[in-house]
């Protein structure tokens, strides 16, 4: 299994965790993103994720490199699911191992925030009363430089 993976199959968290096990790790922090039913008044029936798969996997790998630069000796594994997901399904599983626990907490948080900035994956919400591509696509956020901040070319 790849450490940075986009899959159409359901995610097995243990397989993601197994990839960051290391004899010098004192902690493994795991973040699991799941499909939420209610967003305010809106009821989600199911979700559809789409990705630019080869680039998405490369960007996940870059996040792993960024984490290693920020938190030395950290090992990261990330699997993101695409396709149709039902309520409570796992959309993303992130595991980070580090020598000490504080770094593992911080790095796993960093990974999920960074996914939402630079990884080409899109979510389509299928609500009880219609559907919508999520991702600020109404033009309220722009990228004057043409690429996300902090992305090295």
């Amino acid at each position: 299994m790849k450490r940075f993976n986009i899959t159409e199959k359901s995610i097995n968290n243990q397989e993601v965790i197994d990839q960051v096990v290391h004899h010098n790790a004192g902690a493994i922090s795991v973040f699991i993103g799941t499909v939420r039913e209610m967003t305010g008044e809106k009821q989600t029936k199911f979700l559809h994720y789409e990705a630019y798969v080869p680039m998405a996997e490369k960007q996940l790998e870059k996040i792993g490199i960024e984490i290693q630069e920020k938190w030395p000796n950290a090992i990261t594994a990330i699997t993101h699911r695409i396709g149709t997901l039902q309520i409570s399904d796992i959309a993303v599983s992130i595991a980070v191992s580090t020598p000490h626990r504080q770094d593992a907490f911080e790095a796993s948080r960093y990974a999920i925030e960074r996914i939402k900035e630079i990884v080409p994956i899109w979510k389509k919400e299928h609500y009880a009363d219609g559907e919508e591509w999520v991702g600020n696509q109404k033009g309220t956020k722009t990228y004057p430089a043409g690429h996300p901040e902090g992305v090295k070319k």
């Binding site: 490369k58 990884v119 994956i121 899109w122 956020k141 070319k153």
Partner: protein, 80 residues
């Protein structure tokens, strides 16, 4: 020379396709590709807010596109 274009999410939905090829005479900028694309298939609402990747790496609008390159228009992402 030929340039391959990839569209995703709401851009693919509007274009009713995920792949477009455009024929050009000489290397051109990412911004010029964006204009030519819309001349060919029609206006795509929101494409000015899309990030752009050439051969799977983010680029600037002023960067050059060459023969055989793959240009992807990436609407604001929403993974996680």
């Amino acid at each position: 020379m030929m340039i391959k274009i990839l569209l995703f999410a709401n851009l693919a939905q509007q274009a009713e396709t995920e792949r477009v090829s455009i024929e050009v005479k000489s290397p051109l900028s990412v911004e010029e590709v964006r204009n030519m694309l819309q001349n060919q298939i029609g206006k795509l609402s929101g494409i000015e807010n899309a990030l752009v990747a050439v051969n799977e790496e983010y680029v600037d609008l002023t960067d050059q596109v060459n023969d055989g390159d793959t240009v992807a228009f990436i609407p604001p992402v929403s993974g996680g």
